[in-house]
């Protein structure tokens, strides 16, 4: 099971997304979400959106393992 987190504006599109999913890469998660959450999937396609696995920024093809925490991060706006 992969744990999913959506931050910033992505959270508004992900309120109905289940908190866990079965997938082997972040790219596959995005693909799996397309059918039920097309608006969210479109947001995740934006080139500025980053993905992290276990709190480290990674590429979309990063292999996932049971218990991985995958977070989708729009451009940050702190400070």
């Amino acid at each position: 099971m992969i744990n999913l987190l959506f931050f910033g504006r992505l959270g508004d599109f992900a309120t109905q997304v289940p908190p866990t999913i079965e997938a082997s890469t972040p790219a596959e998660i995005r693909q799996l979400l397309t059918a039920d959450f097309p608006d969210l999937a479109r947001e995740l396609q934006q080139p500025q959106v980053l993905v992290s696995v276990n709190k480290m920024i990674v590429g979309w093809d990063q292999p996932l393992f049971d218990g991985s925490e995958v977070a989708f991060l729009p451009p940050v706006t702190g400070g």
Partner: protein, 160 residues
């Protein structure tokens, strides 16, 4: 170097933080502080609009390690004696404090440059997201190209 990093909902006290930065180091000749405050206008795509409140979300665990990394980078580029970064999260009202960066060093150039570097990197690399409420609307703040440019000026610059 003494490092103090805090992510917290509660407010901070500049005077207390300043004492921590200057105390116990007789070689401190310069202390620079930057405080970021909630302005009562925030630029929205439709122009500037009055806000009721600002909300800061972050990614617990990841933010702390990113801030630690940013402070370590600053410490490797400049001669620093003490550095403080405090960032608030949650609901904030206009004129409240959001963020504090404080740097103590022997000479002023180090403190000024490191404080600017820390703010530029905090704005572009730390996992915080701002939203505003106002006029009955909830709206996420867009990231600013000017912040990306400000951070980019530190890339590829030889250590000073």
């Amino acid at each position: 170097m003494t490092t103090r990093i805090r992510i917290q909902q509660q407010d901070f006290d500049l005077a207390e933080e300043y004492q921590l930065l200057r105390q116990g180091h007789s070689t401190v000749g310069a202390v620079v502080t930057f405080s970021g405050l909630v302005r009562d206008f925030e630029l929205s795509p439709e122009g500037s609009e009055r806000i009721d409140s600002l909300n800061l979300q972050h990614y617990p665990g990841m933010t702390e390690s990113l801030l630690k990394n940013i402070v370590e980078q600053a410490n490797s580029r400049w001669d620093l004696i003490a550095t403080t970064v405090i960032h608030r999260v949650g609901e904030l009202l206009p004129m409240e404090q959001i963020v504090l960066v404080g740097v103590a060093s022997e000479h002023r150039a180090d403190a000024f440059e490191a404080a600017q570097f820390l703010m530029d990197y905090l704005k572009t690399q730390a996992t915080f997201w701002k939203s505003v409420k106002g006029n009955g609307k909830h709206q996420w703040i867009e990231s600013k190209a000017s912040d990306q440019q400000a951070a980019a000026r530190w890339d590829g610059v030889a250590d000073e």
